[in-house]
């Protein structure tokens, strides 16, 4: 399929940034994980073409790069929403009833265990296994902001607040 000029230049720009990151680590294959982390910070996920590109640049088989990217929970092969909501379901949070919060969030956003990102790419809801703020259990993080002593109502209110700010109902 012929690509439009716009798409091509966008791609080029995309790889520019990747090149910069690769160079920062001297294209050292041992630095694959920090490289993937920085690339993901840049694009918010790891697009397939980028993974292949990284593999070639580091002279690694693409299967290896793909293998590493799928092994670690932090790497996303699909784009995530603008607001990533991570609800802690570690022991402390679990015994203080984190699951009803998860259910309330999913219900509010029409998400499930399988569908974690809203179609408008605004919210992604995930669980994590401890955020290390257990004293405040149950804990929820929206992007980098930690919210403690959560309740289902409070969590939904936070979502509504963001949605309103973003002009969505």
């Amino acid at each position: 399929m012929p690509q439009t000029l716009e798409k091509t230049t966008k791609k080029l720009r995309q790889f520019n940034k990747v090149c910069e990151i690769l160079d920062r680590y001297e294209r050292n294959p041992a630095k694959l994980i920090p490289i993937l982390q920085l690339v993901q910070d840049e694009y918010r996920y790891l697009p397939e073409e980028v993974l292949t590109y990284i593999a070639t640049s580091l002279s690694l088989p693409p299967a290896k790069v793909y293998g590493v990217a799928t092994f670690y929970a932090h790497f996303a092969l699909e784009p995530k929403g603008k607001y990533v909501i991570r609800l802690c379901d570690g022991t402390a949070c679990h015994v203080k009833k984190s699951i009803p919060i998860l259910e309330a969030l999913r219900e509010r956003l029409g998400l499930t265990d399988k569908v974690r990102t809203t179609p408008d790419m605004l919210f992604t809801v995930e669980t994590v296994s401890c955020l290390g703020a257990c004293g405040l259990a149950p804990v929820m993080v929206i992007n980098d902001d930690v919210h403690g002593q959560m309740t289902p109502e409070h969590a939904v209110a936070l979502i509504d607040e963001i949605a309103a700010k973003e002009g969505k109902k």
Partner: protein, 643 residues
């Protein structure tokens, strides 16, 4: 450049002696989440507008700097107030915390709106703001500072001593409090053999879970041939419910670095890694900063203390895999591979990172090292028990009044921790109840459960092993009577099943099987056979797995089966969940003797499952009921049971 510790310390001491008061604001993760940074900003504003002098960063006299506060230092002759941030003070639930020295006042749950009053009442009028003091829920007594708060009184903070007091971002304060003197001693007055011997004699055992003697591990690595060796600090802390290592890295990062330097001296390493889990961005930032500052000041780098030895530290962030806490998997991860464990031997001491001899130690272990070398092994042994010397940090969570980060000597009883430090067991609404205690889960997914009969058991490596639990990394989850033990076992099983790296069939498939069996039990489909199969599978996974993850995955099941067998049996034979948590087994019924026919439940029921006439007993139709519990909640006569 070679660091002159004494000079740094005395300059800092001079600058600090000009300070009249000190306001310490907790900037650990918990307090930041509760808004402590806003409190900090408000303090700057309020102190300045009250016309008082304030320093946020101490500068040595005559030091150049563009810091507006150092000019303020000279502006007035009155002694300034120093405002600083600290790492976690342990009492996160009561945060944001503000400490005022030298009075030793501790304010809890401080909001920006409270700051003006603190400035006026405490800093200007020298009185305490009573409403912000901690009130002991048991005695109702108001406590001025940590010295009066039971949560702190009964602890023995050693590794955590400076954590929550010193500014983790100011290396000079660490040095002023005696920091890096132990490293200096190790590099200039001791041989590697002497360091290993001292560690061995101290009896320090690894705090990462296994409890292996640190001195022995170091000595094994020391005798390996070859010029290139590594020290790795394991800051992965994957156990859910644990945050001790995080607090140390955030609250006193230099103690970890100093511990690594001493380890490097002991084994002859010139390079090290700190592997921190990525969910801990603040810990990553503080460790990075600490490494950079130590290099800048000349503590870390080439020719350490003029000894001719160099040491370099790299910081790496994990990428979200629990199994990477296992040492061989962690090494694979640093090498850029999938974090899959490898069979041992060879041990990392023989062939570790890039095939070179490597020591891997836990954060808390490393933070204990400067204490051992600085004060001497004999003093270290004074606390704890014969076979488990020293103190241990625990993350106390769950159904207790005071949750938070604690540190006690090994050998302290569970009763002391739960009732005296933790303040007692709470019900689901958070109120302390006399007879609510059911169990404590200790050691995370690799650990086990302790019950009422273990309340007087001393917490140490060997006693816990004896009853099928373990210290693990130190998570202590207190559970009340409303907690279903089958669900707790399932919770941990789900965790290990998710985190299994998939290399071993028994770990990969066995955890899945156990999960399915537990589901059967919780859904009321369990039979005698289910319990039998569960136990057999658990034993098989224990035996047939390669790494600690698989080997310990069955522990939560085995220990609950041992101590709470009756609860499993109630699920299986009577199809009943004694704690009332397993939805499938709930059978809400209305007691006709108690029901006054007020119709509240029928009005509240979302599916219309309740029928009955006014002032006559109501009934629930079990075929329609969705077991939501709404009826029980609204019934003022406690007539609804079984939800």
């Amino acid at each position: 450049m070679i660091a002159e510790l004494e000079k740094v310390a005395s300059e800092f001491g001079n600058a600090e002696s000009k300070v009249s008061r000190r306001v310490i604001i907790c900037a650990g993760t918990g307090c930041v989440a509760n808004g402590s940074l806003k409190v900090y900003a408000e303090f700057i504003k309020q102190i300045e507008s009250a016309g008082l002098d304030i320093v946020t960063e101490l500068k040595a006299e005559g030091a150049e700097g563009d810091n507006h506060t150092s000019t303020l230092l000279q502006k007035s002759s009155s002694a300034p107030i120093r405002l600083s941030k600290s790492g976690c003070q342990g009492f996160c639930q009561m945060g944001p915390l503000v400490t005022i020295e030298p009075e030793g006042i501790l304010y809890t749950k401080v909001k920006p709106e409270d700051v003006a009053e603190i400035v006026q009442t405490t800093l200007i009028d020298h009185k305490a703001v009573e409403r912000l003091l901690y009130r002991d829920p048991v005695s109702g007594k108001q406590c001025t500072g940590t010295a009066e708060i039971p949560f702190y009184q009964r602890q023995s903070r050693t590794v955590l001593k400076s954590c929550g007091i010193i500014d983790p971002e100011d290396i000079r304060e660490y040095i002023h409090s005696g920091g890096y003197m132990a490293a200096k001693r190790a590099y200039t007055e001791m041989t590697p053999e002497m360091v290993c011997e001292e560690m061995l004699y101290s009896g320090l055992r690894g705090r990462g879970g296994g409890g292996f003697p640190t001195g022995k591990k170091w000595d094994l690595t020391r005798i390996q041939p070859g010029p290139k060796k590594y020290v790795i600090c394991n800051g992965d802390e994957g156990d859910p419910g644990a945050f001790m290592d995080r607090s140390v890295m955030e609250g006193n990062p230099h103690s970890v670095i100093e511990g690594m330097m001493i380890a490097a001296r002991a084994i002859g390493a010139d390079e090290g890694y700190v592997y921190v889990r990525l969910e801990y961005p603040l810990a990553v930032a503080r460790i990075r900063r600490a490494v950079a500052d130590a290099e800048a000041i000349g503590v870390l780098g080439d020719n350490i203390f003029g000894s001719g030895h160099g040491f370099k530290i790299n910081v790496m962030e994990g990428a979200g895999a629990f199994v990477c806490g296992e040492e061989t998997a962690l090494i694979a991860s640093i090498e850029g591979q999938r974090g899959m464990p490898m069979p041992k031997p060879p041990f990392p001491a023989q062939s570790g990172l890039w095939g070179k001899p490597t020591v891997i130690n836990n954060v808390e272990t490393l933070a204990s090292v400067p204490i051992v070398i600085g004060k001497g092994a004999a003093e270290f042994r004074q606390r704890g028990t014969e076979t488990s010397p020293g103190t241990k940090t625990f993350a106390l969570t769950g159904h207790v009044a005071n949750t938070g980060l604690i540190e006690v000597p090994f050998g302290t009883t569970l009763r002391e921790v739960v009732y005296n430090i933790g303040g007692g067991v709470t019900d689901d609404r958070g109120n302390v109840t006399g007879e609510g205690f059911k169990a404590v889960q200790i050691g995370g997914p690799s650990g086990g459960c302790l019950t009422e009969e273990h309340l007087d058991l001393p917490l140490d490596f060997d006693s816990l092993k004896g009853v099928g639990a373990m210290v693990g990394s130190g998570g202590l989850v207190v559970m009340n009577k409303q907690t279903c033990m089958v669900r707790i076992a399932r919770f941990f099983m789900q965790f290990t099943q998710n985190e299994s790296c998939g290399k071993c069939v028994l770990c990969r498939e066995g955890t899945k099987q156990m999960l399915a069996l537990l589901d059967d039990i919780m859904e009321g489909n369990g039979t005698e056979k289910t319990l039998e199969t569960l136990e057999r599978t658990a034993r098989a996974v224990q035996k047939g797995s390669l790494c600690g993850l698989g080997k310990t995955a069955p522990n939560p099941i085995l220990s609950t089966l041992k101590y709470f067998r009756a609860e499993y049996e109630a699920h299986v034979y009577q199809k009943r969940c004694p704690a009332g948590e397993c939805k499938a087994l709930l059978r809400p019924t209305i007691d006709p003797a108690k029901c006054k026919g007020c119709t509240m439940c029928a009005k509240k029921c979302p599916v219309g499952a309740i029928t009955g006439e006014l002032k006559k007993p109501h009934v629930i139709n079990p075929d329609i009921c969705i077991k939501c519990g709404a009826c029980a909640e609204v019934c003022r006569f406690k007539a609804v049971s079984g939800v």
